[in-house]
Amino acid sequence: MRKRSIYTLVLLAVGLAFIVIGAVKGEANAVLQKAIMICMECIGLG
């Protein structure tokens, strides 16, 4: 397997591991809490 393919697999493994760690830490809930409120900065209100 080429070196580049190994980088791809390593990145994928790291990415998936980060998602699991983040979900266990409750970060998905933090994303949700922000996303369900109208983001005043995003729409240009402050």
Binding site: Y7, F18, G22, E41
Partner: protein
């Protein structure tokens, strides 16, 4: 040119339809558009791949850039594993193919690019340096400022969303303000500024292919870094390529694809692949080793 070998490439030809369908599916919460509110269900804990404002009345998912900035701004304690992991996973799978196929604001720019004049601007003076600006936007506005410029209660701002993001203004701000009278009553100079940025980018999109993606988009900067190592890559057949430059002439971003098939600027629109007169370019998503690819090439020959 061998007529038999010329392929049809339906995926790339259907790109605009895929962009339209993806935008409509991921922003199809009808109640938001009827009532001037946004979706508040659990699905919104999942980040969509493209720059899709979570304050769009129809949005089902969260914007990865907004979520990243808010995590750095103090809404997540420690390193933001979840959002960074999402970005790495998407980038490692497909790189900037997200920009070409799955970004609502990319689609909007493509629609504006179809407006005449037919003669478009290919490059700006200092293009090489201007294209690095998106990395500055990423580091300064999406990481450093949210991380360090914090208010009295220890929470920072999503600086990119607040000062630049045209996607937020267009698919979040405009519909919400049109539908919600309370929001209309508190419009101020910040909204005027964001409208100015949006108008400049949209006018720029008429004259030039994807000005926001090439110069300013921090999400494209992240995915672009993973273009060379993503699972989906463009491959050049050295035996077929004659370096005629047809790919570069067709490329809206003026990338010499025959030399740099996986440039960090490439949004994987596939235009180069469809125009190559020798079918020397292809989108590949395999992890095959060199030996297998050689035997495949031999079979192909």
């Amino acid at each position: 040119m061998d007529k038999k070998k010329k392929k049809n490439y339906p995926l790339f030809k259907a790109r605009m339809y895929i962009q339209a369908c993806w935008t409509l599916i991921t922003n199809s919460y009808a109640s938001g558009f009827i009532n001037g509110t946004i979706y508040q269900g659990n699905v919104k804990s999942i980040c969509v791949p493209g720059l899709n404002c979570y304050s769009c009345p129809g949005a089902w998912g969260a914007c990865p850039m907004g979520s990243l900035q808010n995590a750095f701004a103090g809404r997540v304690s420690g390193f933001p594993f979840y959002v960074v992991g999402t970005l790495i996973t998407i980038g490692a799978l497909c790189g900037r193919i997200v920009c070409g196929f799955l970004c609502p604001f990319g689609w909007i720019q493509d629609l504006f690019f179809k407006i005449p004049p037919k003669k478009k601007v290919r490059r700006l003076p200092g293009e090489k340096y201007l294209r690095k600006l998106r990395y500055v936007v990423l580091v300064v506005m999406c990481i450093i400022l949210p991380l360090f410029a914090k208010g009295d209660i220890g929470v920072g701002s999503p600086w990119f969303c607040k000062w630049i993001c045209p996607s937020g203004t267009m698919i979040g701000g405009l519909p919400l303000i049109a539908l919600n009278e309370n929001l209309r009553s508190v419009l101020g100079w910040l909204f005027t500024w964001k409208m100015f940025v949006l108008v400049v980018i949209l006018v720029g999109s008429v004259l030039m292919f994807r000005p926001f993606c090439r110069y300013l988009c921090p999400l494209g900067a992240i995915y672009g870094l993973m273009n060379p190592v993503s699972l989906v890559r463009i491959k050049v057949s050295k035996s077929r390529c004659t370096s005629c430059g047809a790919c570069q002439r067709a490329c809206g971003l003026d990338i010499p694809v025959y030399k740099e098939p996986n440039s960090d600027d490439c949004i994987r629109c596939g235009k180069c692949i469809t125009v190559c007169p020798h079918s020397a370019l292809k989108m590949d998503a395999s992890l095959r080793g060199r030996r297998k690819r050689r035997s495949a090439a031999r079979e192909e020959a």
